[in-house]
């Protein structure tokens, strides 16, 4: 047995240099087999042919402050179309001297959103803060109080309008959606069938048909002499639309509740309202937070559709800049900037939803 035991120090062999470190990583992740290698080479070729010209166009050859006529001489991007018109793109036709008001309103909104991201702040006070914030924003936009000049809603536009539409559409559609979802789960046949018909009808048609309805048919529904403004009509259409989608998401959460929860609530002697408010909804709504955020993202993207019924949201105000003869033909630059704005909004929301999903995952 003694032969097996050795006292001499064994020489430790290092792994081959191609299997560790940077080289190892490259081999394992980029050149792992012939198919992967070909794929990598093709991708690099593709990137080589697209990225440098794009970079030259966007940065090296681009103009940032020059006028439209100078821009036509160069073969790079003309970012000055955005730089020179940034206030119109952001604020639309809001009176120039009063544009600090929507700016502050937006800052309040962003501040509130930032606070709401942190789950430690999810208390009753946050709800009050939102209410106060929304009222303040309304006063800032509309004016008429505290010596602020009144600005009619017809001249609201740009980014504030986009944000206003998405925040209010979601805030008002959410309760409606929850009610519809509860109605769809109801045991009373009339209520159930009304909710089912509503949800399926709305989900079956494109948003644009509802916007048309809001802008053309809605005035016909109202009694003589009563008119409501176009923004509100678009808002109603968006609320009716979003509520149906929220209802479906919430229904998923309700169906995820085990019957034991209902039975336990029944055995405690809680009535329907208390069962829902104290037992079912807190749990069901928590499960569906991630899909609700994706509804929020699509609602935010869908606000761009109001362009079609001629509201001056962010997209429309940027198109208005493009119809100015000086800046005609620089659509790509403008659309890229608007796309970046939308992307930032949506991406931060979807990141938030992913983070929440991780936080809320209790593992069972």
């Amino acid at each position: 047995m003694s032969e097996i035991i050795s006292n001499t120090k064994l020489q430790t062999l290092k792994p081959p240099v191609t299997n560790i470190g940077v080289l190892g990583w490259i081999k394992a992740n980029l050149f792992n087999g012939w198919f992967s290698s070909i794929l990598t080479l093709l991708t690099i070729l593709l990137l080589w042919n697209t990225v440098p010209p794009l970079f030259r166009w966007a940065f090296l050859n681009s103009a940032w402050t020059a006028g439209g006529s100078v821009c036509r001489e160069i073969d790079g991007a003309c970012w000055s179309v955005v730089v020179n018109n940034i206030r119109f793109i952001i604020f639309g036709f809001f009176p120039y001297d009063h544009q600090w008001r929507p700016l502050i309103a937006m800052l309040i909104l962003f501040g509130l959103l930032g606070f709401s991201r942190n789950r430690n702040f999810w208390r009753r006070e946050l709800v009050y803060a939102w209410m106060i914030g929304l009222v303040t924003m309304g006063i800032l936009m509309r004016g008429g109080f505290f010596g602020l000049e009144t600005v009619e809603s017809t001249s609201w536009g740009g980014l504030p309008l986009t944000l206003l539409l998405s925040v209010f559409a979601l805030a008002l559609a959410y309760p409606l959606g929850v009610v519809l979802a509860l109605g769809r789960q109801s045991r009373l046949p009339v209520i159930k069938s009304l909710c089912v018909v509503y949800i399926e009808l709305i989900r079956g048609v494109p948003l644009i048909s509802l916007l048309f309805m809001g802008s053309i048919i809605f005035p016909l529904f109202l009694p003589e002499g009563v008119t409501i403004n176009t923004i509100l009509r678009a808002l109603v259409a968006m609320i009716l639309f979003t509520a149906a989608y929220i209802a479906e998401v919430v229904r998923g959460g309700l169906q995820g509740m085990s019957t034991g929860q209902y039975e336990a609530a029944d055995s405690l002697g809680l009535n329907y309202y208390l069962t829902m408010r104290l037992i079912i909804l807190p749990q069901a709504l928590k499960i569906v937070i991630p899909p609700t955020v994706s509804i929020l993202i699509s609602a935010f993207k869908d606000t761009s559709l109001v362009v079609i019924i001629s509201l001056y949201d962010l997209l429309k105000s940027s198109q208005t800049v493009l119809s100015n003869p000086e800046w005609m033909g620089f659509s790509r630059e403008v659309y890229i900037v608007v796309a970046i704005l939308y992307f930032l909004g949506c991406f931060s929301m979807s990141n938030f939803s992913r983070k929440l999903e991780k936080d809320l995952d209790t593992g069972y």
């Binding site: 045991r187 048609v205 048309f212 016909l220 003589e224 362009v307 790509r332 796309a339 992307f343 991406f347």
Partner: protein, 390 residues
């Protein structure tokens, strides 16, 4: 115990009676709301002297439609114009769905690739495309088409018979020939034959265990039969070449910039969502399934075909159909870039006739028809592929 049981429950606490009461209340509210809206509407219509009803469909439309699959002129009726619009919607949806499926599957599988570069690129693509409104993407592609491509006179001509200019993509097509009708017919016959062959091969494999190379045989039939018909007619090779006449091209076939921008925007946007669906579906099949299939000696093609795909598809198909439906609904954004789809034609009709209620109702009905038939298909598919659990 007995005292409790014999105690009479007052009728207002009886859940059944309460239920009836609530429902009656809801019906009353609903009926009142409906009556209120209808009476307001009728009053307003009367005041603006707009006639109700669908009789306007038979009137002469007096507007042109940019592109049409069936013959149409401004002397035709509104009804026919709307049919043209509906066909255009179907055309965009059909090609859009085909291309989206291809691109979405490709991106979804790339996302799962072990190649770091490819999977990162696919992730970047889905992240960017999902987070930009589709309408903005449509405007962007339309602007790219209009601003970057030259006018017809200086059209790009990368391949003989293909022209790219800001009037669209113009390409040569085979000259009309009697053979084409028969080729189409033979293609239909070949598809039917392949279908029956597949059923027969499946049945035979189930009973006798004998394998039949169904893929290659049916591919051969589907490709071969039309080619044989084509050869039988003397292989007509004449092409209808587009040529510049005045300010535009004559001959060949044209894809309009509106159509291309719409298709491109819809496909690139929806493909990002399809990619996520495909990725989730493939990931939902556990690794053990692949390993088990391998261990009973299936080849990798068979593993994919017989084990992975049937399970992944069960997860993929329901969200996939809803994405296809989304694409169809989003095609209504065509109205923003001027492609004459159903919504766009209906919008023109509304503006000309003032029949707004009928017009919007028509739009809703057409899209409801699409989505109801899709959900009917979904129910059928779910029933067919449902796991039969013991």
């Amino acid at each position: 115990m007995e005292a409790v049981a014999s105690e009479k429950i007052p009728f207002w606490l009886n859940p059944k009676i309460r239920g009836i009461f609530y429902q009656a209340g809801v019906i009353c509210c609903f009926a009142f709301l409906a009556w209120y809206l209808v009476s307001n509407t009728l009053h307003n219509l009367e005041k603006q002297s707009i006639a109700t009803g669908f009789s306007f469909l038979n009137k002469e439309s007096a507007f042109e439609v940019g592109e049409s699959l069936i013959s149409y002129s401004s002397a035709d009726t509104y009804g026919r114009a709307l049919i043209v619009g509906a066909l255009n919607t179907l055309k965009v949806s059909f090609f859009g769905i085909l291309l989206t499926l291809l691109l979405g599957t490709l991106v979804g599988l790339s996302r799962l690739s072990s190649n770091w570069l490819v999977s990162r690129l696919a992730a970047l693509y889905t992240e960017v495309m999902q987070n930009i409104p589709v309408l903005l993407q449509l405007f962007f592609w339309y602007a790219v088409f209009y601003e970057m491509l030259p006018s017809p006179r200086g059209a790009l001509n990368p391949v003989n018979g293909l022209f790219l200019c800001n009037r669209g993509v113009i390409f040569a097509v085979p000259e009309a020939h009697a053979a084409h009708k028969f080729m189409l017919l033979s293609l239909g016959i070949a598809l039917a034959a392949a279908f029956f062959l597949r059923n027969w091969a499946k049945k035979r494999q189930a009973t006798t265990g004998k394998h039949f190379p169904i893929f290659w045989v049916s591919a051969g039939i589907i490709a071969g039969l039309p080619v044989m018909v084509w050869l039988f007619f003397g292989a007509p090779m004449n092409m209808d070449m587009p040529a510049l006449k005045g300010f535009n091209y004559k001959g060949g076939a044209t894809l309009s910039p509106e159509f291309i921008a719409l298709l491109l925007g819809l496909v690139l946007y929806t493909a990002a969502f399809v990619a996520e669906v495909v990725r989730a579906g493939v990931q939902s099949v556990s690794r053990g399934q692949t390993e088990a299939a391998r261990s009973i000696g299936l080849r990798s093609g068979q593993v994919l075909n017989l084990v992975i795909l049937p399970q992944a598809l069960r997860v993929i198909v329901p969200p996939l159909t809803s994405q296809m439906l989304n694409l169809t609904k989003n095609s209504s954004l065509a109205v923003a870039i001027g492609f004459p789809d159903f919504v766009s034609v209906a919008n023109t009709t509304i503006n000309q006739t003032g029949q707004s209620i009928e017009g919007v109702a028509l739009i809703m009905m057409v899209y409801l028809m699409f989505s109801l038939s899709t959900s009917a298909f979904m129910n059928w598919y779910n029933k067919k592929t449902k796991l039969i659990e013991r």
